[in-house]
Symmetry: D2
């Protein structure tokens, strides 16, 4: 199944970094949903390379062409396909490294998996570029959810040990999400953001790269979506989030901190507020109990590794000749992928949540 | 799909804690695999309540009866079904709490999901008891993998801040795995284990519970299994691992530590050793690059929350009447679920790895 | 996936003819549906061996034990598992034929598929006995559909060239369905039924068997369920119906007769009746256009081959020694499987229709 | 899942008749397979409108552009995407019929399914044009199978009661298949073909259309592919074949004729020939027993209804206003779709067979 994800919504992502085009087919979207393409474009532009020093100067013309599934700007209910032409690519940059395994990349593992037949140029199907169709799909799902009041937003929680403020896990709101979404560098605390940018620049100058953590929240999900066992919200979200290259961990609610807590600390006390709403005083459960939404904000964090493409020489192997060698990666690469991964994480969650919302009565 | 997992192997888990039986159907196992039932029993006994103070004194007769799919002790290739009768259950313990939402449990979310029709006795289908069929399935897969040299083992990395030693991520071996597997309390450092046990006992006496972290390794997976995007090893493992109640996070290799690393630190240098084997000097990637195995040990960590059932009074709601209330949970509960979760985590990984191994040429 | 069927509803069927038990797990049933077990039993009894001469004198105690998923007689929404113990089996009858391929059976193909490791006793997982759990699943789905007015019924359209009357494809009603359902020998025209029974008895006395055709109708499906391409009603129904051993063909509406028709004859004229209902004057389309229900009765026919187990000597091979041989099948077998296949076909359709109904707004 | 088909191979088909493009994504193809694009083009040209009188004079430039998954003419193992631009379309032809339900088409059912939001121009996603990407996918699979000796071929078995000769079900060979494949009008008996063409022309002049039957054979499939219950060859083939619009029935081997046979006639006697090959004397089973290939030719027949688009006035409804009306369909339409459906049926089978072959040891 690989690059197909089949659930209540189905997603098929195709393409290689330096092939003719990349794209996505989305099936089982509800029919009749109005899609504002301008908003899709804005969502995608948050994934595009930044003008600041955290990312590559490549220009990516990533507004997908929609081939099917939209008619008079509304979803038809039949498969929605979008693709993005590959244009501004410098294949020569990669020519000389075709059987040198770039450390931290899938060159060696991909060659083993596909017996050397996969397209290795620019990482091929393993390229971070393949997150563009994922983000497109997420942007479509986001609009369908936002029309029903459900908003998803993420921010950079930390880069190289420099921490942003956290969302308040029990009260994070649509406004908090929109506030951070409109920023070019998505942090809550802009001072922390400036330090991060400076740190990334420093790493860049040192021919190095940095990793970080993204915190994501999704608000106004009604209680009762998701399923036990293998189709819980955690299962679905993590299966999709690990589809983003560079993700090495995910934690929901209090996450790994639960390991140091007492049950009496970790358990979130339920209460009914004055409006008859069921809430919890704390949100260590991150909005999910037994795989199912509780009505509290869905909150989780994702670990993003430093960009593996760095410009300093690295020891490695030539995997076609099985001999040790050294590689110096040329080309332009993001010194820190975390800012561009923010909308990717949001996209994955939008897909997951819409997927489960389709089972919600009177959706 | 909920409690069905469909991939190269398919798993269907059924049952409620206080129903007639729980069990599992496994489809697409390779035919002709000899299964030592004694070993399956041993695997399951590691999940059974411990004689020490970390778990409940309930006796669980969990050796499943095999209904189909085994003939002369070999897999037939057609569906293998096993079930476990529910016997030693005290339904009365739960009678008075049927519409009080136990904090940290799925009582409220389950009632919303199933409009109040789910079987709530003992947690019903959300009960930790449902991990028994998962472990059974994992034990079957483990034998098929071990015959091919692939071993999976987990240990308690920490409880309430008390840390065990770690597996050496680059050199962890079959022997390391077997050493920890044979212990009643699965830690590498028995001194740390004793402290953990004492701490659990203390929490138990305080009518409280503790969480922890499990570290798991899987060795001798050949390079080249798994797939990009949605069917990578991380995706599959995390989708299955989050099927274990109480898991709140998962991280592979260096995990959340990548957020503080430079690319030059995190990238694992490849080399060819004297035997012509491809290895990496470090294993921050945890044996997976681009979703595909690298041939290095697969290493990951899982966060387990404190048992939500604690015997002290807790504030909560009655969700049928939507009013605030207090609950005191009776019955016998593990003060710390982490030791019993160890074989559950192993089981999930065995299923995931066998699943991907079925695509390996000449499996 | 083999014996798993995964769609909006998931079905997992397990067991071998002479193993410990056979059964089924059904996931994603709507929660809160009241199930009358007496009615399930009646449905299953229609599949049980008949007292007349058309079937085997074996007694099959096929009322499944329900292991999970029903609580106070209502579906819980979590997996419903039922199993049937295998008791009245005479394994000795099969002992001497274990590597002789019974013509028309899956002995040889099963041995090739599973490298000889499948359980061959009584056909193992390929046995017609495995339709009992399918019928159980269909009986559950039938009740959920009938509560919403949707009724499915089948009758024996012909045996060995003796034809029953047909359902009127445009007007077939709930009453027509209930009328034929209550009969011990499910034909519309009892005179034709008597001739069929006599013909089957004659074949039985000649140590032979007979095939036939089943016609099935499903009424009151609203227009608009099913999907284009691979998830149309025809696709889903045929995928399930071919799960019944002995089925060799399926045709919807006018079926193979369309090959001799003009477009002007085959096209069904739409009209709006006095109540504002959309209908068609004829029903050559069998209630399905573009994979989607039209609101007209769903009508289709299924070809059932003669029971392959016949008591006369047959030439065949010993597939373990790859040599020619002769087989005389002992044991008790239905001289005509068609009557017992009637509820099996109904079951398959009930599963398929409920599956698609779950996508219907306000189901 | 609708237009996604997910199995060992996954297929996603997208597009609407008058949208920007139609196409297909194929995932999990084996890596390294050399694809001769010239041959793919020839396969597709067999689906293109014919120069004779049986089909529409529209020119369809259907050679797909390949976007991904092929590198140096070999499959990469990652998703292969191809799309076909829509160019020569006359949307005006359809303008005036947009809420008149064309009899025999999915206009009304599609509108109900998608609440009127689907793209209705030219049938939208329900158009026969969507078989072009299906045929493309089948052409790719065919090459992979033919390299292993497995050939699939179909011919027109009958049109409007005029019958072609049949394939010999027990001896049909690669040569028989190639002989009929190279013909512009795919019949075994050219005389019968001439009569069919004359009959189609006659229907065309009478503003009418004709249906027919396609017979398909697939040779050299090894014994032992396919699975019991829901994943047998019949299940998979029929699920895919019913994805071709206009298919109303399918029968395998003796098909509906089994209803008139005795068991002793229908059972195919096994024997071992002088080369040690296992064969059957007759092939009523059509190469499949218990869902699994027997090694004999796979043979089946498919019923194709007359083209529903005919130029004479037809009574129907306006489904937006729920009133009776009359429609006269303009535009150019095939008076008989059967010849163009021949490669579509082959394509479906090639996909199904390659899908199951991937489980064959040492594929």
């Amino acid at each position: 199944m690989a690059s197909f994800w089949n659930n209540r919504i189905s997603i098929s992502i195709f393409g290689e970094s330096h092939g003719a085009a990349i794209g996505v087919v989305i099936d089982n979207l509800p029919a009749g949903e109005y899609i504002r393409l301008e908003e899709v474009k804005e969502f995608l532009s948050r994934r595009a390379p930044k003008k600041n020093k955290t990312s590559t100067p490549r220009s990516e013309k990533d507004m997908p062409q929609i081939m099917s599934g939209l008619y008079n700007n509304r979803t038809t209910g039949t498969p929605l396909c979008a693709f993005i032409q590959n244009t501004d690519q410098h294949s020569n940059d990669y020519k000389n490294v075709q059987t040198l395994a770039r450390p931290g990349h899938a060159d060696y593992t991909g060659a083993k998996r596909y017996q050397g037949f996969n397209d290795v140029r620019g990482g091929g199907h393993f390229s971070g570029r393949l997150t563009a169709p994922l983000v497109f799909a997420g942007a479509i799902c986001a609009q369908i959810l936002e029309r029903r009041g459900i908003y998803t937003g993420a921010h950079i929680a930390s880069i190289h040990g420099i921490n942003d403020k956290e969302f308040n896990h029990t009260t994070v709101s649509r406004e908090d999400i929109l506030n951070v979404r409109k920023k070019e560098f998505p942090v809550i605390d802009d001072k922390a953001g400036e330090k991060m940018i400076a740190d990334v620049e420093k790493a860049h100058n040192a021919l190095d790269s940095l990793g970080g953590i993204i915190e994501c929240a999704c608000v106004n999900i009604p209680a009762g979506i998701g399923s036990p066992m293998f189709e819980g919200l955690e299962n679905t979200i993590s299966q999709l989030v690990f589809g983003i290259p560079a993700v090495k961990g995910i934690e929901f609610g209090a996450g790994f901190k639960v390991a140091q807590m007492l049950g009496s600390q970790n358990n979130d006390e339920f209460y009914v507020d004055d409006h008859g709403h069921v809430l919890t005083r704390t949100n260590n459960h991150g909005g999910i109990l037994g795989g199912i939404s509780s009505g509290m904000p869905l909150v989780f964090r994702v670990a993003i590794k430093p960009t593996p493409s760095i410009s300093q020489p690295q020891k490695t192997i030539d995997y076609s000749q099985l001999k040790n060698d050294t590689i110096t990666i040329k080309g332009r690469h993001d010194p820190c992928i975390v800012p561009r991964a923010v909308p990717c994480v949001e996209a994955a969650v939008n897909i997951a949540v819409l997927n489960h919302m389709l089972d919600y009565p009177n959706f």
